[in-house]
């Protein structure tokens, strides 16, 4: 039981590390982030919305992961966000779009697209494990037998 709790804390910490790193890196190189976002296969009119929404969402998830009450929601949000990134990466690899420059922060941008896919899948898996462990934490089975009513 204790091992599972430690694993849950480690998963939350890894996700916090990822989201904080990605969001702060984007903020520190904001002009470049805007330029790269303009080259994504969305209309350029979405750029002002996306360049603020994506890092803000990442920071919000990182903050929510720190607090017990918001952790389940944060893990689900993390799973949704990472799944969306993974689907996007998959679409790029399947040549659904023409080649697209990465819009990730810091050293993550140096990953190739296949490496990016593996990286994203790893964090999707972590989010799923985190959700399962968080559920177990709150829904610990209660053993009821005759002694309970004695």
């Amino acid at each position: 039981m204790n091992k599972q709790r430690v694993a849950l804390e480690a998963i939350a910490a890894l996700l916090i590390l990822l989201f904080l790193y990605a969001s702060v890196s984007k903020m520190l190189d904001f002009d470049r982030f805007i330029g790269e976002m303009n080259n994504q296969p969305f209309p350029n009119s979405w750029t002002p919305f996306l360049v603020w929404t994506v890092p803000s969402l990442e920071i919000a998830i990182a903050l929510a992961l720190m607090f017990e009450r918001a952790r389940m929601a944060a893990l689900i949000a993390s799973l949704v966000l990472m799944t969306l990134f993974t689907l996007y990466t998959g679409s790029v690899l399947l040549h659904f779009f023409s080649y697209i420059p990465c819009s990730c922060g810091g050293v993550i941008r140096k990953l190739s697209w296949p490496q990016h896919l593996v990286f994203n899948l790893f964090f999707v898996a972590l989010s799923i494990i985190g959700i399962i462990l968080q559920r177990k934490k709150f829904f610990t089975p209660i053993i009821i037998n005759q002694k309970t009513f004695a």
């Binding site: 804390e9 916090i16 590390l17 080259n39 350029n44 023409s98 420059p101 990465c102 140096k110």
Partner: protein, 97 residues
């Protein structure tokens, strides 16, 4: 348990924010705000990032330079790619007016 939790959290916050600063471009903050040039034998005006050109990473090349006095100093890394790029790399979107 709380001690473990806050040790993990502190590590994650310090490494996340510290790592972002550590891997941030070490070039002067205003280099991208300066007029950008690319080198094709001569230094030529690069245009607007994301509209006229992009810097495709990963690449060890210098994508754009900016002028400090009369010297051209590297600014952005990557391979310079414009709308006429025929390398299979991304073609920047043209601005919609």
């Amino acid at each position: 348990m709380k001690k473990i939790k806050w040790t993990f959290m502190t590590l994650a916050i310090v490494l996340g924010i510290g790592g972002a600063f550590a891997t941030a471009p070490r070039l002067p903050q205003d280099c991208q705000a300066a007029t950008q040039y690319y080198y094709n034998g001569n230094y030529v005006l690069a245009g607007r990032l994301g509209i006229d050109y992009i810097c495709v990473t990963p690449s060890a090349q210098v994508c754009t330079y900016y002028k400090v006095g009369s010297t051209y100093t590297p600014c952005m890394n990557g391979s310079y790619c414009t709308a006429n790029c025929k390398t299979g790399n991304p073609a920047p979107k043209k601005a919609k007016n």
